[in-house]
Symmetry: C2
């Protein structure tokens, strides 16, 4: 339900085609919201029907035709309405936590490669965020920029937390592994 609004925000930031949105959702925006192109096309079609967005077809000379969407007044109204509406708190779902608890019923050391992968992935993301921070948010910021920076800051905070927690978990798993070797 909220992909609609994520797309509205993204289209307010910059009117775009479905394809463009899909690519943006694979990059910067995708760090806090993800969607496939099929889903995006579906939602765009629905929102066009509802009058929240309007499309302008740009005939490409070299490239294929693009349908560039922008947010209508109705769409902006819906966005404002949604912003004021309380979110129903989302359920956390993390399979890695399930796995860690599941390790009690298996050889815990077998989880180490998985945690290594996750630690590396989070380290990579953190590095990516720091690059974006240095590149886009070092000077003085207007309102829109400041808000975007605050969103990025959540990424920095959470990836750091992930990284530290993964290290801690790996220490724990290693400890079980050593116990097994020294106490046969």
């Amino acid at each position: 339900m909220a992909l609609d609004h994520a797309l509205l925000v993204s289209l307010r930031e910059k009117p775009s085609s479905g394809y463009e949105l899909a690519r943006r959702f694979d990059r910067s925006i995708g760090y806090f919201w993800h969607a496939t192109h099929q889903q995006i096309y579906k939602v765009l079609a629905r929102m066009e029907e509802a009058g929240w967005v309007a499309a302008e077809v740009q005939a490409g000379e070299t490239a294929p035709d693009r349908k560039v969407f922008s947010v209508t007044a109705t769409g902006q109204g819906e966005l404002s309405r949604w912003l004021a509406e309380p979110l129903t708190p989302e359920a956390t779902r993390d399979a890695l936590m399930v796995k860690l608890r599941g390790a009690a019923f298996d050889d815990p050391a077998r989880l180490l490669p998985e945690f290594q992968r996750h630690r590396d992935a989070h380290a990579e993301r953190l590095a990516g965020y720091r690059q974006i921070e240095a590149r886009d948010f070092s000077g003085p910021l207007d309102r829109q920029r400041a808000l975007q920076y605050q969103v990025l800051k959540s990424g920095l905070r959470f990836e750091t937390a992930w990284l530290e927690w993964c290290e801690e978990a790996m220490d724990l798993l290693h400890r079980f592994d050593n116990n097994k070797e020294t106490n046969p």
Copy 2:
């Protein structure tokens, strides 16, 4: 797809009826994984069909009959297989981030109540976790306990991060509000 495995882990920790699982998923386990009872019954039925779990009907003298499920050898095999298998990295989805970026196209101060709610919710959770920590994880811990504690620690870490980030975001939103008042 992973609710199956979350249930397997939960049933390994303690064989239970669907109803019991549903309640447990509303409490401790629900902090890192959530499911409704309908979904749980559905998945239990599927897993019973597949032979991952087996049910024993307990006829209640006073209470209604209960179907108590436990994990079979096949189910344990599946759990081990899943534990070793790499997770496909889950997409982050946070509507609050979308809202914060969306605030650029609306009156940012209107988001303050929403952030207050979220801050309070995270503070409450954090307090809950700290209680669980003091109650269940202060003495020496066996392997299973230690793993559960490590999962709880992620909750402590992330709720702290949320709390701090919400405060920071609220400061920012307040600043826009003041700017508006002093620069009309």
